[in-house]
């Protein structure tokens, strides 16, 4: 059967003939090329970004579930954790320590977490505990957390400066686009950044530890009990100050890991973490505030939506529908407006399902 025989009858007029002159093999390859381009520019970045958002949202959701307020300082806590880790990394690098091919930051991470834990515990002592003892309304705590946010923000900028800092070392790629092309013979390359891979692996480990802790240990169960019914938890002999302390420590760990992974994957700039607050809250709310599984799901929903909507699909479309030569970039929204995506999803969820996808506490 010749190629011409396969040409659909409606193209026989000749106008579109060129586009459809394809062998079956090339048909398949085009589809593969489209998929690889999609995976390279949408899926992989979204998975990495989603993991970072999920870790951030887990911190927000734990504070909401156990301490019962929306912590606006969370983005800047992430910045603080990343900053502490970067300082540690620089020190290690100056000492000539390296973890090649892994980034040195992994070695500095435990110290970063410890420093952040100390920082949030001090904040709790100095600020939040007072309002807790007053039994202040959640809305007051939210405003208080905004104050903490500004102070943390200022502190981070004061210590490390407002500029962008790069601290990623070690191998850049697990596989580069060129290697992938040579390996597969495809036109499109799939570059797997080592930081993206690291993000996903570390996120999985952290989430596994978190869930094991919450579901299997006595302290974790106390925390769930406290989140479930505070009055009853107190009357069951659960010490609230211990629960609060453990919550902050775990939140510090989550925030630091999220902050460092984001910094490794993109770059560290204090202002970016402030901006992350919106997608992180959107993730936590979309998943259902107070629900850890929801926070993870929400993180990926927001990340995929944001990346998909702001990606220029011109290339992918070019492979799938060769006859169509789009004028523009086939991009729904410019990346400059990416935060609008979080905002849009947030509004839709709040309108139609205020408790979130996984039934958290209603707002």
């Amino acid at each position: 059967m010749s190629v011409a025989d396969r040409t659909p009858p409606w193209t026989s007029s000749g106008t579109c003939r060129i586009g459809f002159r394809l062998s079956r093999l090339e048909d398949g390859l085009d589809f593969l090329n489209a998929f690889v381009a999609f995976a390279n520019f949408v899926m992989l970045p979204a998975v990495a970004y989603g993991s970072q958002l999920a870790l951030g949202a887990l911190g927000v959701t734990m504070i909401y579930g156990i301490l019962r307020f929306s912590n606006f300082a969370h983005g800047d806590t992430m910045a603080f954790g990343a900053m502490a880790t970067i300082l540690g990394t620089w020190w290690l690098q100056a000492m000539g320590v390296s973890l090649d091919p892994f980034p040195t930051a992994l070695l500095a991470l435990p110290a970063g977490i410890a420093a952040t834990a100390v920082f949030v515990l001090i904040t709790d002592r100095l600020v939040y505990r007072f309002y807790r003892e007053q039994k202040s309304a959640p809305v007051i705590l939210v405003i208080v957390s905004m104050g903490v946010m500004f102070v943390t923000n200022g502190l981070v900028r004061f210590v490390i400066g407002v500029d962008e800092q790069r601290f990623a070392d070690g191998a850049r790629f697990i596989i580069t686009a060129r290697e992938f092309k040579e390996l597969t013979g495809l036109k499109e390359g799939l570059a797997i950044k080592s930081t993206a891979m690291l993000t996903v692996v570390v996120a999985i480990i952290v989430v596994a530890i978190l869930f094991w802790f919450l579901n299997r240990t006595r302290t974790g169960k106390s925390m769930r009990a406290f989140s479930d019914n505070e009055d009853l938890a107190l009357l069951s002999g659960i010490n609230p100050e211990r629960v609060v302390m453990f919550t902050w420590i775990m939140v510090a760990a989550l925030a630091t890991v999220a902050g460092v992974l984001y910094g490794l994957d993109k770059s560290f700039k204090p202002f970016n973490y402030f901006q992350l607050l919106l997608p992180i809250f959107a993730s936590a709310i979309v998943g259902g505030l107070g629900n850890p599984i929801g926070a993870i799901a929400g993180g990926f929903v927001i990340a995929f939506s944001e990346v998909t909507i702001t990606y220029a699909f011109k290339k992918v479309a070019g492979y799938l529908i060769p006859a169509w030569e789009p004028q523009g970039l086939v991009q729904l929204l410019s990346t400059d407006y990416k935060f609008a995506v979080s905002f849009g999803i947030l509004i839709v969820v709040l309108l139609f399902r205020p408790t979130g996808l996984f039934r958290g506490k209603a707002l």
């Binding site: 240990t217 106390s222 938890a233 107190l234 009357l235």
Partner: protein, 263 residues
Amino acid sequence: MIRVEGLHKHFGGFHAVDGVTLKIAPGSITGLIGPNGAGKTTLFNLIAGTLPPTSGHVFMNGEDITGLPPHDLFHKGLLRTFQIAHEFASMSVRENLMLVPGHQQGERIWNTWIGRRRIAAEEEGIRKKADEVMEFLTIDHLKDERAGNLSGGQKKLLELGRTMMVDAQIVFLDEVGAGVNRTLLRTIGDAIQRLNRERSYTFCMIEHDMDFIGRLCDPVICMAEGKVLAEGTIEQIKANDHVIEAYLGTGLKNRMIKETSSE
């Protein structure tokens, strides 16, 4: 055991508890009755540390425990149940019970890693205890059910079960019998008496069912409008004119007169 002195609780201008002074003798089952809104639950809240009193003092075994947080009181052996049953809704019935004994080994974070065997042994003991309690309260078929899915009466039983998980000294029961069917009510009554005799629990219980109170309690305290109206045996209370006027109503008095005259 428990001594309450001049306890006041004001909500704005409203005096929910208005100068209550009373004693609960060790080893007793004290009944607390009174009309709706008399301030009984509020009094429990003050004693158990759920609410801070406006003024006044609470003593336990001579020690001033006013304003101590509930978890401290728990470890001193003072427990209470809620009138509107509380539960950890997302956990199973068994988990609800197993959470109760505080100061477990597993609560110390290092033990989570280095003391696993000790934790396991302790958990085994607690699990056994929880199973016993559930069997005793005839809710053992519900052990893996989400506590939030229990019926109102079953939640009440779970409340009672919680107090049986540890060695309490004094337990404040806020209408455990309300919404529980008659046969189960007998079981609960028996349980209370057994705990009282065998494990020397002291009880103070709010109840509206006069038969239930009459069967279990001595003495009985009657409250109205935030004040203690009368205190005495069930017969004395039933015969007290103030109590009849404020709470029991004349119907009961007439019935009692009939009963006594027909004897």
